[in-house]
């Protein structure tokens, strides 16, 4: 990555109105799968409350990148600091980062042997040591927020994909995280269910949550993101506010990508 680009990223952080505190700091981060270099010298600073959309062709390393932020994937070189805690091999540090970082997966990954309510309560009760009554009350609150309180006692398998994904969002929120990671949250959904999940995410964004979102939903990026990051071949190719990114992309690779996804 060029000097110029790094300074531009820094610029973007300063430009952001909420850029009072950096909550995620990624510096010269590299990752390999065996001998395959998946992530190449990534640098990124995310301010508290910032909403970032990461896009790029498949295999560009964008999912791997956000999975490094809560250590579902291990990076081999460089530095990742989340909310003041550096991710190292230390299990306690990893756990303390994971407590503050919620994650929503492409395939929901709800626990099929637990009801919706139990799914939402398990981590607060066992990790945060919240009393059960209180955890359940919080869970119901979030289930209301994602608009499915009436499904609380059903099992995940009885819900539609869109409902399951909203439960997954509620489950992550029940831990009261400071950061939310979304790994292609709408990619596994039927078209008519994408909107209900996106609406939930838009609502969440408006509440001031720090969000990193890997998605192909360019409409979402346009309306919600403070910054859009384009990755290709394991690198951050371009990083810009959405109006610049979509109307005036600088890098040829970005231009080509946008042409493909916007005019299909």
């Amino acid at each position: 990555m060029t000097e110029q680009m790094q300074s531009e990223q820094g610029q973007a952080v300063v430009d952001s109105a909420k850029a009072d505190k950096t909550i995620i700091h990624v510096e010269a981060m590299n990752k390999w799968y065996g001998s395959f270099h998946v992530l190449k010298n990534l640098n990124l600073d995310v301010a508290q409350g910032e909403r970032i959309v990461i896009c790029g062709p498949s295999g560009s390393g964008k999912s791997t990148f956000i999975r490094c932020i809560n250590r579902l994937e291990e990076h081999q070189q460089g530095k990742i600091v989340v909310d003041g805690v550096e991710l190292t091999d230390d299990v306690r540090q990893i756990d303390s980062v994971r407590r503050e970082v919620g994650m929503v997966f492409q395939h929901f990954n709800l626990f099929p042997h637990m009801t919706v309510l139990e799914n939402c309560c398990v981590a607060p009760i066992w990790v945060r040591k919240t009393p059960r009554k209180e955890a359940e009350a919080t869970a119901m609150e979030y289930l209301k927020r994602v608009k499915i309180p009436e499904q609380a006692n059903k099992y995940p398998g009885q819900l539609s994909g869109g409902q399951q994904q909203r439960v997954a969002i509620a489950r992550a929120l029940c831990m009261k995280p400071k950061i939310m990671l979304f790994d292609e949250p709408t990619s596994a959904l039927d078209p008519e269910m994408i909107k209900e999940v996106l609406d939930t995410m838009v609502e969440l964004a408006s509440s001031g949550m720090t969000m990193l979102c890997v998605t192909h939903e360019m409409g979402f990026a346009k309306t919600v993101a403070d910054r859009v990051i384009f990755m290709d071949g394991g690198e951050i190719v371009e990083s810009a506010p959405p109006h610049e990114f979509f109307d005036n992309p600088r890098e040829p690779r970005t231009q080509q990508f946008l042409k493909q996804i916007l005019h299909h």
């Binding site: 579902l72 929901f108 990954n109 099929p112 042997h113 981590a123 066992w126 099992y155 992550a172 831990m175």
Partner: protein
Amino acid sequence: MSESMAPPKRAFAPIRWMRENLFNTWYNVLLTVVVVYMIGTSVGPLLNWLFLDATFTGADPKDCIGDGACWLFINQRLNFFMYGFYPDAQQWRVDIMFLLLAVAFVPQFIERFPARRWLGIFGMTGLPIIGYILIPGGWFGLEEVQSHKWGGLMLTLILAYVGIIGSLPLGVILALGRRSEMPIIRGFCVIFIEVWRAVPLITVLFMASVMLPLFLPEGMNFEKLLRALIGITLWQSAYMAEVIRGGLQAIPRGQYEAASALGLGYWRKMRLIILPQALTLVIPGIVNTFIGLFMDTTLVLIIGLFDILGTVQSTITDPSWQNVATEGYVFVAFCFWVFCFGMSRYSQNLERKLDTGHKT
């Protein structure tokens, strides 16, 4: 919008069903006739032998005069088949254990039985402790009954029960260990499992009863039954571990990741998320292993312990009873069938109850 309609009814018509399934081709007709003939000629005599011509009551072997089974033999020697050489005056202790076993496990078949779950937990935790106090005795003023006097169904149940409740937790730990990322733990578990699984139980029992004492220092010699129990439990836990590992491997990676992402540490992740799903998946395999173990307990005969099969076998060679071998073996088979069928039904029960019907 068009109306929803009820699905078409399927009338039950036995004649039509028979015509379609039993007599639809010439070879099915032939097969049906042969099978009906075989059933007809065998069921009658069997019932005659089992019940109608059988002798149930009497005082001594001479009362068995009919053509049917001599159940009198079982009746007369039942005490030996149940308790082995356990002294008559102390048998109430074993009876209490039989009763507690029934109290703990029979309600598991009854869907709405109150406190069913607690009874089950008692059966897995409290029961072995009570058994450990009550059956050998030697404390609290209970007369000591040494383990070489134990026998019959009681011994079979002790072997199977200890094997089952010992091997399940051990198997879980071994299965987790085998999937551990720590090389020493993984290596230990792999070696443990592969060594025990590659040895026939009969060898394990021989080792436990004959070879082990040779290696142990003088004076440190514990009872034959205890050694057999340890051998059976370890051997069984290796099998159990592989069954459970199958279940662990069937859980999608996303479940592990979701649990980790929520901040659940290793043990909580396993206990709350992974094991409940993995164990549910392998209930048939686990019960199959239990049933296998239950049958294999009969092998203790070769190290001189008299389980139910052993007691029956030793009695049918008794010259005062003539030609009662069939009755003896039928009785043993029936006892095994009752317990194994019970376990099998319970596993189906459990599968239905735990099935939330939907995989991820």
